[in-house]
């Protein structure tokens, strides 16, 4: 951060910047831990200026607010779009994998559901439900040199979220297909995906984990097959 930008920390904490300046300053903040910390302290300070201005609100306000929240739908959590920076104590690999998937989901749904915020939010909510299930387990593997596939599964919810990145582009006549694999039963399809070149795939939410021990991925004719036509080129263990 330049000295000039840093000087704006006070004006920023006082909300004394124009909208454009505020956005610019926030972009600077995102890359400067020391500035973020200073701003947090200054924000706590301006909060004290607010607390000192406290007044008893008019008597009717409480009832009106409580009535209005009864009619007001709550907004779902914002999903992280970046991997969080490592912190003291460290994030568990499960949390890291979950963040990765959420980051992808956040970025990708924005593209896939452009102009359809409700559907995107619903999709994100369903992903978040799997991520935050008490028994959620994550597993990541590499494939095709630098591609990765991550699965987070919850047996309790009987669901899994699968995301991939940098998978090779397939000819238009082919699709990737995911399979739940159990030793005691035939493979069950967990979804078909055609990741766009160079972009992370839209996560697949698959139901019916059942007693599957592994998740496998094959290349199938476009649209998918009823049963895999070949051996999976990768498998992931489902805990």
């Amino acid at each position: 951060m330049t000295h000039d930008q840093h000087d704006l920390a006070g004006a920023y904490a006082l909300d004394a910047l124009s909208d454009t300046e505020r956005r610019r300053f926030e972009r600077h903040l995102s890359g400067c831990a020391a500035c973020t910390e200073e701003v947090a302290g200054l924000r706590e300070t301006t909060a004290r200026l607010a607390l000192a201005a406290s007044r008893q609100p008019p008597p009717g306000l409480r009832d009106r607010v409580l009535a209005e929240i009864g009619r007001t739908r709550q907004s779902p959590p914002r999903l992280a779009r970046r991997l969080p920076s490592p912190r003291a104590g460290g994030l568990s690999w499960l949390a890291a994998a979950a963040c990765l998937v959420l980051a992808l989901a956040g970025g990708v749904t924005a593209a896939h559901f452009h102009g359809d915020a409700e559907r995107a939010q619903d999709f994100n909510r369903r992903i978040a439900a799997v991520m935050t299930a008490p028994d959620a387990q994550a597993s990541t593997t590499r494939a095709q040199d630098d591609a990765t596939v991550t699965v987070v599964s919850s047996r309790k919810l009987d669901k899994a979220v699968i995301t991939t990145s940098r998978l090779r582009r397939l000819p238009s006549a082919k699709s990737y297909q995911l399979w739940f694999l159990a030793s005691s039963a035939a493979p069950r399809s967990a979804g078909v995906m055609r990741p766009p070149a160079g972009e992370p795939s839209k996560p697949v939410i698959a139901s019916g984990v059942g007693n599957a021990q592994q998740l496998g991925m094959t290349v199938e004719p476009a649209g998918g097959s009823a049963q895999p036509t070949g051996a999976p080129f990768l498998t992931l263990k489902l805990s």
Partner: protein, 192 residues
Amino acid sequence: MTDPSSGRAAAPGVPDLGDLLVLVARGDRDAFEQVYERLSGPVYGLALRVVRDPAQAEEIAQEVLVELWRKASHYRPDKGGATAWALTMAHRRAIDRVRSAQAGRDREARAGVPDPEYDQVAEEVGTRLEHQQVRRCLRGLTETQRESITLAYYGGYTYREVAELLGVGLAAVKTRMRDGLIRLRDCLGVQT
């Protein structure tokens, strides 16, 4: 848990505001009523201080408190205290109102006195103490620092407008705001 905005540990038995917001995010109305008890005074008082009109202040307070219900899930504890988060929302709402009404209003009259008479006795001892402590610490600033901060925060002026009002350069105003807030922070014993 401590609420950094107060710089003190929460009194035993008093739930942390951040914890309450987590419950509110799940649709817990009882938790929201506790949030209301804690924040309605500061939210209304701050709006009143900025817009100087009880009817508008009440409208803003209602909007902000409903927004807290709606957006409780957006609160990120790693980005700062819950009180600061909520009151930033309130402050931005109030200044949006005065900035959009700028043309029709005499804003100089509005912001004229940095610290108007606290004519109504604060209802709660806590509020009164908070007010006294903040006033004492504001007095510890240089006059130019105090003016810059109160014009911006309570008056809703941008730092460019403050520079113009005070007839000083932009760089000077930025510095006064930052140095003044740092001094205020240290005087109030704010912990982050």
